[in-house]
């Protein structure tokens, strides 16, 4: 049964794969506690893991002096996950389309695509320095604006 109140968790972690794993485990636990079903939780977890990998690998470049922050919020409407890094920032519109024939056999470049595939909304914000990804999953399918 979903909690009708808002709950929050925030983690500030070093730039390591262990931190990615911790964010992934937190996403699993948080999404389950928020009441998302068995089909949706793995998709949320995968999207959050991909965002954490981006923060640690592409954003902070494993720099031990830089931190990743992951915050989780569940309210009656949706789950909101924000992942911040302290990297140089990037332009999401510059990312190549991984489905394009010339990119289909590339060994990388599918992370943001999968995040967008599994979440209802994905927003990028430049922090100067750093990037914040906001991932939103609604409890029911998003309705088009009237």
């Amino acid at each position: 049964m979903p909690d009708s109140t808002t709950s929050r968790v925030s983690l500030t972690l070093n730039s390591s794969l262990e931190s990615v794993d911790k964010v992934e485990r937190t996403a699993q636990d948080f999404a389950e506690r928020a009441g998302f079903d068995q089909d949706t939780v793995p998709n949320i977890v995968m999207a959050v893991r991909e965002a954490a990998v981006n923060a640690v690998l592409h954003g902070n470049a494993y720099n031990p002096a830089k931190r990743m922050t992951a915050s989780f919020e569940a309210n009656p409407d949706c789950l909101i996950v924000r992942v911040q890094d302290q990297g140089p920032g990037f332009d999401p519109s510059s990312l190549p389309d991984p489905l394009a024939p010339e990119n289909i056999l590339r060994g990388s470049g599918r992370g943001i695509f999968l995040i967008r595939a599994f979440m209802d909304e994905v927003h990028f914000r430049q922090l100067l320095p750093g990037t914040e990804l906001t991932l939103i999953k609604y409890r029911a399918p998003a309705q088009p604006a009237a």
Binding site: I104, L105, G111
Partner: protein, 115 residues
């Protein structure tokens, strides 16, 4: 949490039974090293059994693609066997399902390699 690889031979085909997680870091590196080792030993026909893969991320998907192209560039063939529903869905979403030759029966997969 990490991935394990067991290698066996069936009718001249090298089968890699993978279990665990193929993710950024150890899992992806283990897969890459295993395939490169096989190519170095002259193996040309490689079947990746993914039936016991519990999780794969975008890095793991990329590693499957890299393995496919490495084997193909070496003049060989790489096929996939026993996809879990999750891996199946991910390959569909990323439009890689038609890139790979995917089988759900080992004997059929082994027989499908060119001699």
């Amino acid at each position: 949490m990490s991935m394990k690889v067991t290698t066996r031979q069936v009718d001249g085909i090298t089968i890699l039974d993978l279990s665990g997680r193929i993710t950024l870091g150890e899992g992806s590196v283990t897969l890459r090293d295993s395939v490169h080792d096989l190519l170095g030993k002259g193996a040309k026909h490689i079947l990746l059994n993914l039936g016991n893969i519990t999780y794969i991320d975008s890095s793991g998907i990329g590693e499957l693609v890299s393995a496919f192209t490495s084997v193909k560039n070496a003049g060989g063939e790489l096929k996939l066997l026993n996809l879990t529903k999750k891996v199946h869905d991910l390959l569909q979403i990323t439009k890689l399902y038609t890139v790979f030759d995917i089988k759900d029966d080992e004997a059929t997969a082994v027989a499908a390699f060119a001699s």
